[in-house]
């Protein structure tokens, strides 16, 4: 068996400020090389925070970090200086949600890609520009030579996201973090970007963590799904397992809330209530207040993590129990 490319153990992230937020609570996750994982959850569940923690992008002054992250055996939590910089963008890179904001408005896209290539590959400007051109061609931007000299505001949203992807993949990272890369785009463009990412993943063979709140997108892109709620992973398994046999009530709720196959006029099955504010560290099941199946025990202690199969887990007291009434 090969070693995991990424191993997160008991990660805790706490934001200290006027009010404390326990954003990530005891998160553990394992990713194999070349694997595509969707991190699924609603806003505020800690998906983006997890990605930013992986790149150590959170402001150090106001963030309490705890736990361990190993990338290819290297401890990420203690990286600093030059080694941190070569890890960022070299080993692991990121595609941001809003390409209009994630690109520097006053540099050409060619310069922005070349800058990263020069940093990580140690090549000169003209060679880096050639790489940038190659990448723009690979992400299928029309007339790439001209686009090299364009500024971000001269491109459409879909085009900008292609540039962002070209930038992220230019240094051939072994892990790509994609933070809702299609959310800010039109529906038709979303599909194109999704297909492009899937294709490039196959071509380059890197592992991908794809953060999304859209189950449809998760199914489309990923082999595995990890469902996040209140800063924890509540369910994990292959995409097929999670979709066909969701065991956590939250996952079941998410699937039921999906818009597909709902007849017009019928009530949508939304999950009642809102996620907890996480001002205190959860000491019981965070989902219990919204859970239709909650037992008194769910509110008394943290739920056990059950493993119904290899690399399959559910953090729920009632997982695997026959559900009688609903």
């Amino acid at each position: 068996m090969t070693d995991p490319i990424l191993q997160i153990d008991n990660l805790n992230v706490r934001f200290n400020g006027k009010r404390t937020v326990h954003a990530i609570n005891d998160l553990s996750l394992k990713l194999m090389p070349g694997e595509t994982l969707a991190l699924l959850g609603e806003s505020g569940s800690g998906k983006s925070v997890t990605l930013k923690t992986l790149l150590r992008l959170l402001p150090e002054r106001r963030t309490g970090l705890d736990g361990s992250i190993a990338f290819d055996g290297t401890d990420i939590m203690t990286l600093s200086g030059k080694r941190l910089r070569s890890y960022r963008g070299g080993d692991v890179s990121m595609v941001f949600q809003e390409p209009a904001l994630a690109l520097d408005p006053v540099y050409t896209v060619g310069d922005q890609i070349a800058e990263a290539v020069m940093r990580h590959k140690g090549v000169d400007k003209s060679e880096a520009m050639a790489t940038a051109l190659d990448m723009l061609t690979r992400v299928r931007i029309p007339s790439p030579e001209r686009r090299l000299k364009n500024y971000p505001h001269e491109l459409s949203g879909g085009m900008r996201q292609r540039v962002m992807i070209a930038l992220a993949l230019a240094c051939r990272p072994r892990l790509l973090l994609a933070d809702e890369p299609t959310t800010a785009l039109d529906a038709t463009v979303q599909i194109q970007i999704l297909l492009l990412l899937r294709e490039l993943q196959r071509e380059f063979g890197m592992a991908v963590i794809f953060v999304t709140h859209d189950i449809g997108v998760a199914v489309e892109i990923s082999e595995r799904i990890a469902v996040m709620y209140a800063g924890q992973i509540v369910e994990e398994g292959t995409t097929r397992e999670v979709i066909a046999d969701p065991q956590h009530p939250y996952t079941q709720g998410l699937l039921a809330a999906n818009l597909h196959d709902v007849a017009k006029g019928t009530r949508l099955d939304a999950i009642p209530g809102a996620p907890p504010s996480l001002e205190t560290r959860p000491d019981a099941c965070s989902f219990a207040p919204r859970c239709p199946l909650a037992l008194p025990a769910c509110r008394a202690e943290l739920p056990p993590v059950k493993t119904p199969g290899p690399r399959r887990r559910v953090a729920c007291l009632r997982a695997g129990q026959p559900i009688a009434a609903e």
Binding site: R88, D104, P105, V106, A168
Partner: protein, 317 residues
């Protein structure tokens, strides 16, 4: 870029016309008769009329304007009523001195202001930030003529290090780049620099703070850029706005240094302007205001063009 420059240049023409009309009318609507200031009290009506005709003041106002403009375009700005010397020579000499003072102040103020602003923006909400904010508020709030007097008391009167008056030894007006002349420049330039230090620091702080909190900064770190790289990006993003603020400040330094020039007896345009006002020297007043206004217009032109060159988001097609 060239077409943008030319179009922007064409836009200057109506502004320049407007400025000239305002300069001319400003003096027309000022109360009092300029001749009373220079004519002897017992001058006869004929003598007054002759003087009036000599300066063209007996013609209708629009005609006066056209004559003034026509002469202006030939480089003739008339003669000073008080001294009888050509206005052009007086104004250009004085404006040259003012430019020297303004640029010296700018060279002191802009780097310091930028540095302080960057520092505060980068270390936002720290002690450093609060210190810079305090300095910039003090710089903007302290009346600079008062500060000038205080500096004179300290460095000229008490310590005797620097001269307190004039642009050269013995009130000489010919500038030379040597220590005896530069000594005269230091106190007024430093005094004049205090306000723009505050304004530039405040502007750059806000700019740097805003830009640093933008997503692309995180994206830069995410692709492995160092702190220095990020600061370079931030600087380039802030440059266009910072530059426009500095350009305007330079304009204010040029025109707004009347008080400082008076305090330090600096033979600049402000000094000339206040003399022209007190002596009701209309041709001199008109000429000085016009030249200062035109500098402002030119300054704006330069800033606009420079901004367009730096920031691709400014439309230039």
């Amino acid at each position: 870029m060239l077409s943008y420059f030319l179009r922007r240049l064409i836009l200057v023409l109506p502004v320049a016309f407007g400025v000239s009309v305002v300069c001319f009318m400003l003096v027309q609507i000022a109360p009092g008769d300029p001749l009373t200031a220079i004519m002897p009290v017992d001058a006869t009506a004929e003598q007054q009329a002759a003087m009036r005709a000599a300066y063209g003041l007996d013609k209708p106002v629009p005609v006066q304007y056209l004559i003034w403009i026509a002469n202006l375009l030939q480089g003739d700005m008339g003669r000073s009523i008080a001294t009888g010397r050509p206005v052009a020579a007086e104004v250009f000499g004085a404006v040259g001195n003012s430019l020297l003072l303004a640029f010296s102040a700018a060279i002191i103020a802009f780097p310091i202001g930028t540095f302080l602003g960057f520092l505060a923006g980068y270390f936002r909400d720290t002690v450093l930030d609060r210190a810079v904010t305090a300095i910039s508020i003090a710089g903007v709030s302290v009346p600079n003529y008062w500060l000038g007097i205080v500096l004179v008391i300290i460095f000229s009167v008490n310590l005797g290090w620097l001269p307190s008056m004039g642009a050269g030894p013995g009130g000489s007006q010919d500038w030379h780049w040597d220590w005896t002349h530069i000594r005269h420049l230091i106190l007024p330039a430093v005094t004049l620099a205090v306000v723009p230090i505050g304004i530039v620091a405040r502007t750059v702080r806000a700019l740097a703070g805003d830009i640093l909190s933008m997503d692309f900064v995180q994206a830069l770190y995410a692709k492995g850029m160092s702190r220095g790289d990020v600061l370079r990006h931030v600087a380039r993003n802030a440059a266009a706005t910072a530059l426009s603020v500095m350009g305007l400040q330079l304009g204010y330094l040029l025109g707004g240094s009347i008080l400082i020039e008076t305090v330090f007896n600096w033979p600049g345009s402000g000094f000339l302007l206040s003399n022209a006002i007190f002596q009701r020297d209309l041709p001199l007043l008109q000429g000085t205001i016009l030249i200062l206004a035109m500098f402002f217009v030119a300054m704006n032109l330069i800033v606009d063009v420079a901004q367009a060159a730096i920031d691709p988001r400014i439309k230039r097609s």
